[in-house]
């Protein structure tokens, strides 16, 4: 990232006002630094050289006190607003990143990005605070105080200015040189360090397992070995990383020393007034101070800068175009998948060549081994992700009207007609009654069917029992019953149940079967992701979902999307009715 990335100002509006404030305090600080040096030099010079008394330099001393107070105020104001701006800017970035991730959908998150993104959105971006609070002000000071002090030195004493101007460019030159020299080495070192640290943590995290197997004794020595190796690797990196700091400090202190010696020698010769000499002596370190601070603070804010980079990458990932066509009424529309294939992050296609039809009043069961892409197929069906091959279309049941590509449909209008029970039900905090929805009689009837009535009866507050975020306060089985009842109460014409019997015993399974029967009877289209054969038995159509391994897929990867209607024997007639083989869709 550049010292000040314009993207930061674009994505975090709070940063703009703050930058303006920081520039203002920076300009003020520059003026105050110069004023302080000149006033101090005049008061001190007068007293030292001319033996003036306090009254004679009284004006300067009073003005100096005023300057000190002003600096105190400026620092206070800067600090007062720095934390606030940092918090707000980080909050903006966080909300933006999470919003974009949600909009990018499960496909984008699935490529191992989920945990990374959560870390970024929580701890990662918080590391930007030192960037805003410490680094940015110093960067501005380097752009205001450094040139201001340098200009005044130039006006006062050309020789000292020459020393400063001569050494100042060496600072960035040496930084770049040392940086270049160490770049490859420290990157390698860093990787090694991370590996060693990860191995140590892995060993410690596995300790309960090692204990359960009686194998915990040996690895203690390994923990120490890894720790020592980590220390040696880290010190190797630090020896080089700290070099840049040393060069910076060496250059700045040494050039101040050279300025001081130069002034001293010219004072002896009488070529320079003492007041000028003192002013230059006070100002010379001020030229370098912000540069040194920028270096130090940049070190502290690198984590935040890296997080910001990652955040920009997310924020600038283009969103797939969103359909605008309102979805037709699903009570009169069938959803069809034709030759659908989705490439997984591993490279495999799962599902592959999937054909299926979801119609009102029918139950479709998706079966297949784990990893064959059943849940992915549901995500395609719901328009959460676009298939890499094949098509997902909406067709009117009575055959009227043209087929509508799912990609052209505004997803919100589709989703408002869907009741989806994912593998892990999403329960927002609230009372059980609010979670289930519907009015009391409907709710009671549905609860009697799903067995939620018994659960509610056992709860201290009954329907008014409050459930925390993620369903805390209910057991897994109880959550599942709440979610099932909700699906039953919801008037949505399409109901998707993803492994509704997982973690339920035989009795719980009975509940699910009853629920599915009731849904079908009420004319709803039901999609079941089924593990257990008993569940698939209730379906009108059973669709076997298959995956193609990564290696196979490389060989017969279709150059173009499979033509619609290509016969693929993935639909198996089952249950008690004739399963329709989807006809060719134009």
């Amino acid at each position: 990232m550049k010292p000040l990335d314009p993207r930061l100002l674009r994505h975090a509006r709070a940063a703009r006002a703050y930058l303006a404030l920081t520039v203002a305090t920076g300009v003020l600080t520059a003026g105050l630094v110069v004023a302080q040096a000149l006033l101090l030099a005049r008061a001190l010079g007068g007293a030292v050289q001319d033996g003036l008394d306090l009254a004679a330099v009284g004006d300067e001393v009073v003005a100096l006190a005023a300057v000190v107070l002003a600096r105190v105020l400026v620092v206070g104001v800067q600090e007062r607003f720095a934390h606030r701006a940092a918090t707000r800017a980080v909050a903006e970035l966080r909300a933006g990143v999470v919003e974009r991730a949600v909009a990018l959908g499960p496909r984008w998150l699935a490529a191992g990005r989920g945990p990374e993104l959560v870390t970024l959105a929580t701890r990662g971006l918080d590391a930007l605070e030192p960037y805003f609070v410490r680094y940015l002000p110093q960067l501005v000071l380097a752009a205001t105080v450094t040139p201001a002090a340098l200009l005044v030195v130039l006006g006062l004493d050309r020789v000292s200015a020459a020393v400063v101007v001569g050494t100042l460019p060496l600072v960035p030159v040496f930084m770049v040189l040392v940086g270049r020299l160490t770049e490859g080495r420290s990157a390698r070192g860093l990787r090694g360090m991370q590996t060693l640290a990860a191995q140590t943590l892995d060993l410690l995290a596995g300790l309960p397992t090692l204990r359960a197997l009686g194998r915990e004794r040996g690895p203690a020595a390994r923990v120490r070995e890894l720790g020592d190796a980590h220390r040696r690797a880290t010190m190797g990196t630090l020896r080089i990383a700290f070099l840049s700091g040393m060069v910076l400090e060496l250059l700045t202190t040494l050039s101040v020393a050279l300025v001081a010696v130069g002034i001293g020698l010219r004072l002896v010769g009488g070529h320079l007034p003492l007041v000028t000499g003192l002013a230059v002596l006070v100002l010379a370190p001020e030229v370098y101070a912000p540069l040194r601070q920028v270096g130090a603070q940049f070190h502290a804010s690198t984590d935040g800068v890296a997080a910001a980079e990652a955040a920009f990458a997310v924020l600038e990932t283009p969103l797939p175009p969103r359909g605008t066509h309102p979805a037709p009424d699903l009570a009169r529309t069938a959803l069809r998948l034709h030759g659908v294939a989705v490439r997984q992050p591993t490279g495999a296609l799962a599902p592959e060549g999937l054909d299926l039809e979801v119609r009102p009043g029918r139950v479709v069961a998706l079966v297949g081994t784990s990893g064959s892409g059943k849940t992915t197929a549901v995500e395609v069906l719901l328009g959460l992700l676009r298939p890499d091959a094949g098509a997902a279309r909406l067709v009117a049941v009575d055959g009227t009207g043209p087929a509508l590509d799912l990609a052209d449909v505004d997803p919100a209008t589709l989703w408002s007609q869907v009741s989806w029970l994912p593998q892990r039900p999403v329960l927002e905090p609230g009372t059980v009654a609010a979670l289930v929805g519907g009015d009391a009689p409907v709710r009671e009837r549905a609860a009697a069917l799903t067995g939620l009535d018994a659960v509610v009866a056992a709860l201290p507050d009954g329907w008014g029992h409050r459930v925390g975020a993620g369903g805390t306060g209910l057991s897994v089985g109880q959550r599942q019953r709440v979610a099932l009842t909700r699906a039953l109460v919801s008037p949505a014409p399409l109901v998707v149940l993803d492994e509704p019997t997982a973690h339920l015993d035989a009795h719980g399974e009975e509940v699910v079967l009853r629920t599915v029967e009731t849904l079908r009877a009420s004319g709803r289209a039901v999609v079941l992701v089924a593990h257990r054969a008993s569940l698939a038995a209730v379906a009108d159509d059973v669709v076997v979902v298959r995956a193609a391994a990564a290696t196979e897929m490389e060989a017969d990867r279709p150059a173009a999307p499979a033509p619609a209607g290509t016969p693929r024997a993935a639909t198996v007639a089952a249950g008690r009715s004739d399963a329709p083989v989807p006809e060719v869709v134009r």
């Binding site: 959105a121 009686g214 003192l278 035989a506 054969a533």
Partner: protein, 634 residues
Amino acid sequence: MSAATTSAVSGDARATVDADPPRGTLRRAVALLDVDRRRVLLAVVLGTLALGCAVALAAVAAWLIARASQMPPVLVLSVATVGVRAFGVGRGVLRYVERLVSHDVALRGMTQLRTTLYERLAAGSPAALVPLRRGDLLARVGEDVDAVGDVVVRGLLPAAVAALLGVGTVAAMTVLWPPAGAALALALLLAGVVAPAVTARTARLTERRAAAGRARRSAAALALVDDAGPLAVAGLADERLRALRDADADVAAAVDAGAPSSALAAALGPLAQGLAVLAALVTGIPAVRRGDLAATDLAVVVLTPLAAFEATALLPAAATQLHRSRAAAARVLALLDATTPHPTPAPAATSGAAPAPGAAPVPAGAGLHARGLACGWPGRPPVVAGLDLDLVPGRSVAVVGPSGTGKTTLLLTLAGLLPPTGGLVALDGRPVGAWPAADLPHHVVATLEDAHVFGTTVLENLRVARGDVTEAEAAAALRRVGLGPWLAALPDGLATRLGPDARTVSGGERRRLLLARALLTHAPLLLVDEPAEHLDPALADALVTDLLRGAANGAADGAADGAADGAADGAGDGPNGGRGVLVVTHRLTPLAAADEVVLLGDGGVVDRGTHAELLARRADYREARRREGEGDAG
């Protein structure tokens, strides 16, 4: 904190986030770092000298210029000119060496603390580890140990350097002009003690005010990312995003509330410096007129303070670090303290030879025997009570029951990983609690759902069970748990590396990998938790049947038969060469292979018997079994 509040805090069991760690927490943790005192001293001396060079540079330069303005012979200035240059070089070099020494000390300390932590956790009570979630354990041995180590470099060292340098500078100024020395001392206290104290206090208050908001913020972000699809479909995504923004706004408000004191603390630094300069100027000028102070020394006492506050400027950050490290130290110590073995309170579990009056006698004989066993998490009501159970080599037991009936808790208790809350468990005639924790796994091994998959190869992950597992044994064990095709599909076979969080392994594969690991041990008793979850019914039933049969016909070790030398554990095989296997499951179909089926429910045993007996006796059992069968037929 007063002594009264300290004891109030430590006496309150609920004191968690709000409570400050008790006094001495950080000292105890730092002692565990076992840092080399000579190295620390060296770092302090180097750090003081480095910053001392900066102060000396300012002082000598001031003297040089003031003296030069009096136009003395150049020779008079030669020492000062050399000194100025030397100080200019010394600062950078000394600081470089100091940073290397201090970081080395801290890293050594962290390694020491991690090793100690590992050793204590390995030797202490296993119950301390069970309730810890993986993420929590990682955080404590990772970030928290780092934070304790950081206190050396970022907390204690800057404080020591600032104190030493402050005393030195004040002493030098006092020699030249006592009022300037006194003013500098006060100013240094303002910048080096008051400002850091205000900063630390503000940080602590803000942290406390913002804690709830931060927690809600993390939860909201996590929920949004985890359930992005379902939330979008349910139309809840916008609402959750609003909740995230609201939580962030609360955090911002908390930060805002602390901002004025932060501003005050930040302003104290420049204020102190300005006051020191002004005081030296105002008291020094008349003194020069009076002849009490040399004119050149006036320049020194006025200009030195400009360089004297560099050390104190680091202290507010050091104070914050101290606070952060203290909190981390408290968490690390809590983990260490939890591993200190507690005396087992259960009266029956004290001695096998002399059972307490009224308690059931310890059952004699090989194998695992539970009598009137009650188990549950410490401090919570037992989930299972009054359980009798016998598991001997060659015998197989299936435990069935609805979710939430405490099957996993029972398993942990039987394996000696949780103390029983009542009754007793004896292994080979001796209460499980009386066995040395390290010996138990040689006799009874439990597969735990959240067992760790190490970031190494498949083979090494299996060798965790036993160091001498051969490739053939490993492959056979994987095939036995139905992972044959999975193994065949792995790019490097047994040498394939698994990710640290086993992302390359699905839930079902992971569970079976852990089962294969348990099968490779030589333990004569095996406790298996839901081996067939996430498997399709046919495979699941085959696997459970194989496990249960393996017990009876002695084929349990399949591949491990060849390794019957088993010298590592010396436990040997059971009477009929088979293992004792206890399987927790929710499918009834494969239970014909079990010697005994125990039905759990309502906090205890509902019924028990063989599969055939239960089928004959219990209508609900028959019905549940029938429904499974019906499902399989479809």
